[in-house]
Structures are given as structure tokens and as C-alpha cells.
């Protein structure tokens, strides 16, 4: 069975309507179906690994929007034994310290991405 690496760069694209990130959701669904998958967060998507984020409170007229719960979804990915990596350089550039990360997120240096890709058979770039 092939090993997949989902590299997620584009972030918060339609998380209000979808109430999740579609790439994280897709990868999680693959895992539920039996696939061997990992996730690498890079660029602005490293913010998905930040604990305590809260998108609640949005409403349009009388219609309240629940919004995404990225902490729940990233925690669920980790609980499902999907390896979840975040690029350390991208975290540092955005001023996100390790203490703010959801437990279980692994940091990888940008220089180590090529090696990480080599350990997987197929890459899904989002």
C-alpha cells in the first residue's frame, strides 16, 4: 500500500462554509478508508496547528454560523495516528512558539521537507 503525504499550504479557504478545512478533511477520510497518510502543514497553513483558536461568533442576519473547529479537527487527526508535521521555519516566521502548538504536532525544518517527501510514495499538494 502506498504512503501518502498531504502537503497543505492554502489555508482557511472555505472553512466558514465547510466548517473544516477541506484538505484536512479529505486526508482524514482517506485514513478512515484504510489509507496510509500523513499531513505536512506549510506556509499559512501552519496556523492550523495553533491551540486555542476560535472562529465562533459569526452571524449573517439571524443566521448564526458555527464555524470551523480546527483544534478539534487537528486533534482528531493526531488521535487517528495520522502523522502531522508543521514546517518549523514557517512557524517561526509567523511568531508561533512551540508552546502554542497542539500536542502531537511534529516540527520539521524546511531543509528536511525533501527527505520527508522521499519517505512517501505519493504526494497530494493542496
Amino acid at each position: 500500500m502506498a504512503k501518502y503525504l498531504s502537503i497543505i499550504d492554502s489555508s482557511y479557504r472555505a472553512t466558514i462554509e465547510e466548517q473544516d478545512d477541506t484538505a484536512v478533511w479529505f486526508t482524514h477520510a482517506m485514513k478512515n478508508g484504510g489509507a496510509d497518510v500523513s499531513i505536512l502543514l506549510r506556509g499559512d497553513a501552519v496556523n492550523y496547528a495553533v491551540s486555542g483558536q476560535d472562529a465562533k461568533g459569526l452571524r449573517f442576519g439571524a443566521r448564526t454560523v458555527k464555524g470551523p473547529d480546527m483544534v478539534r479537527d487537528i486533534q482528531a487527526v493526531i488521535d487517528k495516528k495520522i502523522s502531522l508535521y508543521a514546517v518549523a521555519d514557517d512557524l517561526a516566521e509567523r511568531g508561533i512558539p512551540a508552546s502554542r502548538l497542539i500536542p502531537g504536532v511534529e516540527q520539521v525544518q524546511r531543509s528536511a521537507i525533501a527527505r520527508l517527501i522521499e519517505t512517501h510514495d505519493r504526494v497530494l499538494s493542496w
Binding site: 462554509e17 465547510e18 466548517q19 442576519g61 458555527k66
Partner: protein
């Protein structure tokens, strides 16, 4: 009270531009301004009545628990909200864009027009904002 025209181009479920546009419309109505929304290209699907909420197996939530929002509900809610605030909200789709996508079945209150209508809305407005796709 001012009149504002906002052009939207992104389709639903694809971009953060969509909730941003809705937030701007909501804020303008809340402050008592009239708003013309002109939906171009993929944005004409925002009011498509065929959108359906779904349960979410990955979240482990039922249809009711997920409470999945469809932008058509936001359009309806904003049209109602404008009525409550006694301001005018026009939600106009580019007709050809609608036809291309087969999204003719729109929620009540959405109208059909052309770029000329968008221009007329603009001419009659105090301010115009076009939120194009990236």
C-alpha cells in the same frame, strides 16, 4: 444613509472571500446603508436553491449536529435582515453566468441582470467594492 455596491466573483465553498463579502454586506445593512450585490461568474451559485446541508462522518456529527451552513441561507437571512432594518438589499446575478452553470433555481429575492446593471448600480452608489477571484 449611503448606497454601496459590492461585486462578488468567488464561488461558494472555495474561498475566504465569500464570508468576507457577506460580512461586509451584513455590516453595511446593520449600519443602515442600502446595498447592491452583483454576483459574477461562480458567485452566482451563492443563492442557488439546490444547495443541501450534509452530515459529517469525519466529524462524527449528524445532519442536525453539524448544522452545515449553505450560503443560500445567508442570502435569505441578509434579505430578511435588510427588510427588518428598512434598507434596500439588491442581490443580482449575472444572467449568463447563471445559465453557464445551470443554477437558475435561486432562493426568493435574487434577481437576474447583466454587467450593464452592475454599472448602473455603481453609478447610483456612493461607494463600490469589487472582490475579484485571486
Amino acid at each position: 444613509m449611503a448606497t454601496i455596491t459590492i461585486g462578488i466573483m468567488d464561488p461558494p465553498y472555495e474561498s475566504a472571500n465569500t464570508p468576507t463579502a457577506f460580512r461586509l454586506v451584513e455590516a453595511a445593512i446593520r449600519k443602515g446603508h442600502n446595498v447592491n450585490v452583483f454576483c459574477y461568474e461562480g458567485a452566482t451559485a451563492l443563492g442557488f436553491a439546490g444547495q443541501k446541508p450534509h452530515a459529517n462522518a469525519v466529524h462524527g456529527l449528524s445532519l442536525e449536529e453539524e448544522d452545515h451552513p449553505n450560503p443560500k441561507e445567508w442570502v435569505k437571512s441578509l434579505l430578511t435582515f435588510a427588510g427588518e432594518k428598512k434598507v434596500k438589499l439588491v442581490w443580482c446575478n449575472c444572467g449568463m453566468c447563471v445559465d453557464e452553470r445551470g443554477v437558475e433555481n435561486q432562493v426568493e429575492g435574487v434577481c437576474r441582470g447583466s454587467p450593464v446593471d452592475a454599472w448602473k448600480y455603481s453609478e447610483a452608489s456612493d461607494g463600490v467594492l469589487l472582490i475579484g477571484t485571486e
